[in-house]
Symmetry: C2
Subunit: 405 residues, 2 copies
Amino acid sequence: MRVLLVGAGGVGTAITRIAARRAFFDTMVVADYDPARAEAAVTALGDDGRFVADTVDAGDEAAVAALLARHRCDVLLNATDPRFVMPLFRAARTAGATYLDMAMSLSRPHPHRPYEECGVKLGDEQFTQAADWEKSGTLALVGMGVEPGLSDVFARYAADELFDDIEEIGIRDGADLTVDGYDFAPSFSIWTTIEECLNPPVVYEAGRGWFTTAPFSEPEVFDFPEGIGEVECVNVEHEEVLLVPRWIDARRVTFKYGLGREFVETLKTLHLLGLDRTDPVTVRSAGGPVAVSPRDVVAACLPDPATLGERMRGKTCAGTWVRGSKGGAPREVYLYHVVDNQWSMAEYGCQAVVWQTAVNPVVALELLAAGTWSGSGVLGPEAFPARPFLDLLTAYGSPWGMREQ
Amino acid sequence: MRVLLVGAGGVGTAITRIAARRAFFDTMVVADYDPARAEAAVTALGDDGRFVADTVDAGDEAAVAALLARHRCDVLLNATDPRFVMPLFRAARTAGATYLDMAMSLSRPHPHRPYEECGVKLGDEQFTQAADWEKSGTLALVGMGVEPGLSDVFARYAADELFDDIEEIGIRDGADLTVDGYDFAPSFSIWTTIEECLNPPVVYEAGRGWFTTAPFSEPEVFDFPEGIGEVECVNVEHEEVLLVPRWIDARRVTFKYGLGREFVETLKTLHLLGLDRTDPVTVRSAGGPVAVSPRDVVAACLPDPATLGERMRGKTCAGTWVRGSKGGAPREVYLYHVVDNQWSMAEYGCQAVVWQTAVNPVVALELLAAGTWSGSGVLGPEAFPARPFLDLLTAYGSPWGMREQ
């Protein structure tokens, strides 16, 4: 297997470090817009001869297709931000390569009823091209990070092995991470967090289909395992709600993010003041008036989460809560994966949230290389057998857990 | 009297409209950095031949002194933002003109104990030059808007006519203004509001002198008159606390601003995220990286308060609450001035907060022109007899009130 990894940010760099310990691939080309970032990721791996740094603009579809051809890559792994999903997805199709990403094409709210009906949904742009991928016998494995990704694998595992009938599948994400020396320091990209949290959250119900609610709806306190404890969670737009119902029977699918009360209030304030906007405003500067996106300014005022690993303490938990019945009796389980930042920093030099996102596409690549997972079309993680994935994840030194409720 | 008015923003424009109805002056030169703003203010007054538009950079001390000389002005009225206090104050001194402002030279927090001790206090830079003004027999009347300004006049009135002994003087400012069509739209410059509210609030106590507290300290609910009702008020850095104790005996002086709970939380969030900062951050733009001040971006995301008068409803109240004794009996009064936005828009085309600030320096100029008020040195409004001011304010059609508590 010859992989083109696009994006050498936090997650991309963690992918190289995890992959470097595995033998399943021949070459991994690490390409970034910033040549220094790609070089730094490759250099950090020492004398592993399988990694090559290169430069590419992820928004330039033709350049990406040419890079795939030049390095004879059969897989494109997208580790950039969601704005680049479509050019990378199309470039892989053009080059005949397998495609993987960890977030799907962006949504657009309903023009008149944004908090009641879906407009363009997450992944819609990708799924409209499914027939084309199927026809050519090529695979696009979409949403293959931790959430979406491992959370979808958990859903498939629950449907296959734990339940006869599923009432509700609820992804629940929470953490107790703190950053020394900062009163406020998100552990993940604030740009993406705003995008996720202020877009209308999507919910699925059998019979009704997908619909949206107001941001931060249905607050609930969820008790996370391994000492993290209770965190307030709210509905957030997330890929799992769009993926799970395509392959798994469940009467309701939700995603709730354990943002905590303070963070929710902070995001509401940013929205109230229009500081979440991405369209530019005109501001004075020493060199005269300039046009900047308020959301970029918010990001610039906060520390870069990729640099915070050393100062971070605590654990992050991703998981899937399932309620239904087995053998006629009601059952409720939470399937979860916890990463302790101290462990991921010591073991890989990567902060917990980034490492947890990165490990899953590497496991998936290894299953594809071995032929354990195979398919064609645009498929989510729940389209594949779950057990081999969970076993291989454990073999990577990062076991998952299950709590009967 | 020949007046140079520097600044043709909201307050400057309101000053011209109020002054145009009075006969006490011969000429008012309206100068602004933006020639169009000065022209617009003068043009709006029709055929009143006493007003002249001109252009000046308020930060250019020599240019301002030259402008005073060129127009033979004997008074400089500063209606710019507080960053320009010192160059304008010095320019007036150079030219031998009387100086008036509505906000004083800026403070700088104590380098080590910002929330316990004062560093450089509001007005310190001006008061250090008091001897020079006195020696030359020239007057700088500082803090002569509504707050500081009318609030200080109220304090003097209370000391002269209502009390034998004063325990506490507390300026209390509150409003019930709303802006149609906006969830969040401050009625005054957000830049200045952040400056006022996030600087360490200053408090005066006899024996202890001036000291600071943490922002938003000592929240209290104050009941404002004329239907405004209860508003949560918190300590804020304001000039009155520095002015009143210099001329009036009181055991405690405070300033509390009726920001309301939501606004306080909003300012706290801006501070938590570093969006109140004025030092530039580097942000991407279409034309490459640029350096902008986050606080300027916050201001750019919000509507310009000067343009909101038509959409605003409600009243604003400035006042001075005094507690002490008279004739051996305890007494407590609130002296106040309320402006209804509907009235100020109909009568002057100016929104309430801006009009209320602007009327007071015009009244003061008229008292100086008549010789009712006179003096030399750097003096606050409480250095002058209060009764003539309050009577003339009433004659301007804008009466004040008093509530015995």
